[in-house]
């Protein structure tokens, strides 16, 4: 006799289909793969708890909301030991790609967590302003202004990677 709930198959399928995407989003917000793994693990546990009550069309929004709020909570807890200030654990193949990745991760680390989430949702997950606003519980106008501000800061930071490096070591 099996006591596995009937909906668990759908949950497993969702896990398989979406875990990689959520890992990438969490990494963009947290700047660390182990931290991203913890955040995504917590998110999927939450998803399991509430799965039967989540409307099928709302699962992605629910998962992203849980994920970003988990990331925010982890960012607050980590406080001083922000792993976004450290060199990532592994670089992508090729020296140029690795360098670019370091620059971007360090530039993102200069943004507040909500700014990083806006960037990740808009430009990695390709969500619209309205969808991003729903995930973050923010007015659309706030998402637009945060996007513009974050883009501006990222552009400045990426234009001067050496100064970022200097500042990093100064602290």
């Amino acid at each position: 006799m099996s006591r596995t709930p009937a909906w668990e198959t759908a949950y497993r399928d969702y896990f398989t289909a979406r875990q990689r995407s959520l890992m990438r989003t969490a990494y963009a917000v947290l700047g660390s793969w182990p931290a991203a793994e913890d955040a995504v693990q917590t998110t999927f546990t939450q998803l399991y708890v509430h799965w039967p009550r989540i409307q099928p069309g709302a699962v992605d929004t629910y998962a992203r909301r849980t994920l970003v709020h988990t990331c925010f909570r982890m960012s607050r807890h980590r406080g001083r030991e922000r792993s976004t200030d450290r060199v990532p654990e592994r670089t992508v193949a090729g020296p140029e790609g690795g360098l670019e990745r370091l620059d971007l991760v360090r530039a993102l680390a200069g943004l507040p967590p909500q700014g990083r989430a806006v960037i990740a949702l808009r430009f990695l997950d390709d969500l619209s302003v309205a969808e991003t606003a729903r995930v973050l519980d923010l007015p659309e106008g706030t998402v637009k202004s945060q996007t513009a501000r974050a883009l501006d800061r990222l552009q400045s930071a990426l234009a001067e990677p050496e100064s970022i490096e200097r500042n990093h070591h100064d602290h």
């Binding site: 949950y11 875990q19 999927f44 399991y48 971007l104």
Partner: protein, 241 residues
């Protein structure tokens, strides 16, 4: 190429090589555990609302004047009333139910007699049939309090299987690891304050206090049970079976 498109490309490349990932089995195991405690909590809350009448209604309405019972003796405070004698033979044929209730009463004398004590397992939200107590993976005792309820759960190593609480504060203590966790039901109206002990041999004891409140701070203010008492309870070596 626009700045936005450049950023999309860079983000894509920077996050493409995913390192690590969540564990499906752990998600399901922890999710099942959460679902069981949450559903048990709904039952406790229902008992509280139906059974406590005016007292419960006053607590739920946020009456700041209610007295919070404390299990930790306060030097110049009033003496704590002894717990009422608990009916302990909830499950015929075993004394595990009585032992569990007695240890809880010793540590948390402000709690009333348990509403129920029953065997369960990793798949079942509520009790197993009494006759199947021999295959229990955990035993649970539920209580009604003024602000909500309490659930004490002792489990075998087989059920937990290497569980660790990722989002909890963890502390190494003699014989195992102690965790604290606070979370709410999805409607945000019931808050759970969990104190967990996972022994080095894998058996575990979880104690939850549930509180009806609109937010975490209000819930914390309404708690009846002290963390220190809950910690002493979950670390009690007698809570094994």
């Amino acid at each position: 190429m626009t700045t936005e498109q450049l950023l999309r490309d860079q983000l894509d490349r920077a996050t493409r090589d995913v390192v690590g990932g969540p564990d499906l089995a752990a998600s399901i195991r922890d999710g099942r555990r959460r679902r069981r405690t949450t559903r048990a909590g709904v039952a406790i809350a229902t008992v509280a609302v139906l059974g406590l009448g005016a007292v419960g209604a006053r607590a739920l309405a946020g009456d700041d004047g209610h007295t919070v019972a404390r299990d930790t003796p306060v030097a110049d405070g009033p003496p704590v009333a002894p717990a009422p004698q608990a009916p302990t033979d909830f499950v015929p044929g075993t004394d595990i139910d009585a032992s569990l209730a007695a240890v809880v009463a010793e540590h948390l004398p402000s709690l009333p007699a348990p509403d129920d004590v029953y065997p369960s397992d990793g798949q079942t939200a509520g009790p197993l049939p009494d006759a199947e107590f021999a295959r229990a993976q955990d035993w649970q005792a539920t209580y009604t309090t003024e602000a909500g309820g309490a659930l004490v759960m002792m489990g075998s190593a087989e059920e937990l299987g290497g569980w660790r609480c990722r989002d909890c504060g963890a502390e190494q203590v003699p014989g195992g690891t102690l965790y604290h966790e606070t979370y709410s039901t999805d409607d945000g109206r019931t808050w759970w304050f969990g104190t967990y002990f996972v022994a080095d041999d894998g058996h575990f004891v979880n104690a939850f206090e549930s509180v009806q409140a609109p937010d975490e701070q209000t819930a914390a203010d309404r708690r009846q049970l002290a963390d220190a008492d809950l910690e002493a309870l979950v670390e009690d070596a007698r809570l094994t079976f």
